[in-house]
C-alpha cells in the first residue's frame, strides 16, 4: 500500500524511484501536501524526469518559495548537498545540457539560493523565451534582495 510514510522511508534510504511512486500517490489524494511535493521534486530529478520535477518545482516556488529555501539539509536529512556534490563543480556557464542545468538549478535552491539563481539566470540567457524560468528567477531574486536588505 502506498503512503507518504513509506515514501519518506525510501527517501531516507535514497531509493528515489520507489519514493517517487509513493509521493505521487500521496499528492494525488492530498494535492496541497507541500512536504511530499518538495521531496518528489528531488526524486524526479534523480530518476531522469526533469520536466516533471520542474512542473512541481514551478508550482511550489510560486506558492511558497520559503518552504524550499528553508530546508535544513541536516535536520531534514535532505540529500541536496550530496546530490549537488555528485555532479562536481559544474558552473552555470559551462557547456552542459539544459536538463542538467535545470536539475542543478532546482537542487541548489534547497541548500543555496544564490547558486540556484545563477543557474536559472544562465538558463534564461540560453533560452530567453522560457517564461516560466524567468518567472522562477524573478521570485528567487526578489527573495534574495529582500533577505539581504533585512540583513543589512
Amino acid at each position: 500500500m502506498y503512503s507518504e510514510m513509506l515514501g519518506n522511508k525510501y527517501f531516507l534510504a535514497r531509493n528515489y524511484e520507489d519514493a517517487a511512486v509513493n509521493f505521487q500517490h500521496t499528492i494525488n489524494s492530498d494535492p496541497v501536501n507541500k512536504s511530499a511535493r518538495k521531496k518528489l521534486i528531488i526524486c524526479y530529478t534523480q530518476i531522469g524526469q526533469i520536466q516533471k520535477a520542474f512542473e512541481s518545482f514551478y508550482q511550489l516556488v510560486k506558492e511558497d518559495l520559503n518552504f524550499i529555501i528553508e530546508t535544513d539539509p541536516v535536520a531534514d536529512d535532505c540529500p541536496c548537498v550530496e546530490l549537488t556534490d555528485k555532479y562536481g563543480n559544474i558552473l552555470p556557464y559551462e557547456n552542459e545540457s539544459y536538463d542538467l542545468k535545470l536539475m542543478l538549478a532546482m537542487l541548489w535552491l534547497y541548500c543555496n539560493a544564490e547558486k540556484s539563481l545563477e543557474f536559472f539566470k544562465r538558463i534564461l540567457i540560453e533560452n530567453p523565451n522560457d517564461n516560466r524560468i524567468g518567472e522562477v528567477a524573478n521570485i528567487i531574486e526578489t527573495k534574495i534582495r529582500l533577505t539581504n536588505k533585512l540583513t543589512h
Binding site: M5, K9, N15, Y16, I47, A75
Partner: protein, 436 residues
Amino acid sequence: MPEPKSSRDEILDSIGEGLLTVDKNFKINFFNRAAEEITGYKREEVLNQFCKYVFKCELCESKCPIGLILESGNPLYDFRSNIEIKDGSRKPIKLNAAILKNESDQPIGGVISFRDLSEIESIKKDVSSAGSYFGIIGHGKAMQDIFRLVQEIADSDAPALIQGESGTGKEMIANAIQVTSKRKDKNFVKVNCAVFPETLLASELFGHVKGAFTDAVKDRPGRFEIANEGTIFLDEIAEMPLQTQVQLLRVLQEGTFERIGESIPRVVDVRVLAATNLKINDALKNGKLREDLYYRLNVIPIVIPPLRERTEDIPHLVNSFIKEYSKLYNKVINDIDDRALEILMNYDWPGNVRELENVIEYMVVRAKNESIQLEKLPASIKSTFETRKPAEEFKRESPSELLQLLKKHKWNKTKVAEELGIGRTTLWRMLKNLEK
C-alpha cells in the same frame, strides 16, 4: 520550564520495556524512561532526531523495522537483534514494531518496543551450564537423539536442514551445531529469509556493486562473503524466492557466486545451516522449495518435535524458565502449583517452547508467593480448560451420557470419575442429584 507530562506519558514511563515512537518522517517523538536506560540516551538528546541515528539496531543497517512493516503490512513480533547504545557497545534486544495509522488508515508513525536481553542472556548461560545442552532443555529421547547427532557431526562441514514448528528452538540447535563445530571461532552469520523483501534478499546474501540498482550507491559485500570460512544460518529457507534458491544451490555445489550487478565469480567456503517451519513435503509439492536444493541442504536432517510431543520436558522447561525469570525480576519463586503444572502439561502449545517461555515470564511477573498459583495462568490458557465441560454441567445437561459412562464401566464409579476427571465424591453427588 519543561512541559508537564501527560498521564499517557506517565504510564508509558512506568513500563519496563523500552518504547519509542516516530512520526511519519521517522523522527523520534516519544522515548520512555526504559528506552533511556537501555540505550544510554537522554530523551532530550533524541527527540526530533531520525531514529536511524539513535536506534542503531542490526536490522536498521539493512532494513528499518518500521519500513519492513510498511512494505509487508505485517507487524514484527519478538524480533531478536542487537543495538548499538550510546557508549558504542552492543546490547541484545527483542523488539516488536507496529505502524500507527490515522482514521483514514494512512500511516502517520510507528512504535517500537524493545527489551534488553543482556541480563537474560547471561542468566541463560548460567542455567545452560547446569543440566542443559547449550541452553536447550531436552530430557526426552527425541531431544537426546538430536543432541547426540549434533555431537556426531561436530567434525563435518556438511549442510544441515533443521525442521520444526515455530518456537521449537531451531535457531538454538543451529547455535549448538556452530559452537560444537570446527568453525566455532569463525564468523556465524544468521539470515531470516522471510524478513527481506524478495528483491533485496539476493543482494543481502550475495552483495551488490555500485549502480546494480537504484539504491546501490556503493559496493556492498553480502552475508556469504562475511561468513567466509565460517557458518551461515538461513532461517525460513522456504520463504526464499526460487531465483535466489538457484543462486544458493550454486554456492552449495560449486562454492561460488556473483555479487548483483557483477559477472566476476567469487569463491567462498561457508557451511550452510538452514531451517524451516513448513512441512517439507508440502513445500516441495507446492513449489516453494526446489527439490534439488532440498536434497543439497538435507544432508544432515534434524527434525525437532513440537512441545506437545515431548511433554516430559515441560516440567524441566518450566523450572528453568522460573529460575531465569525470577532472577531477572528479583523474585524468590521456587516452584509452581501442581494444578497449574498439570494444565501446562495438557495444553497443546501451538507456539511451542517460545510460547511456554512467555507464559512462565507472565506468571513470574504476576506471582506474589514463592510458588506460582493456578490463578496466575494467562486467561487464554485457563479458558482452554474452563471451556471443557465441567462436571456439574455434565450432570445438568447430559444424564444420559452419564448413564452411558456408568454402563460402559459396569457401574465402577472410580473408573467413571477418572474418565470425567473428577473425584469419586463429586460423582456420588452428581448421581444423588440425578435421583432427585
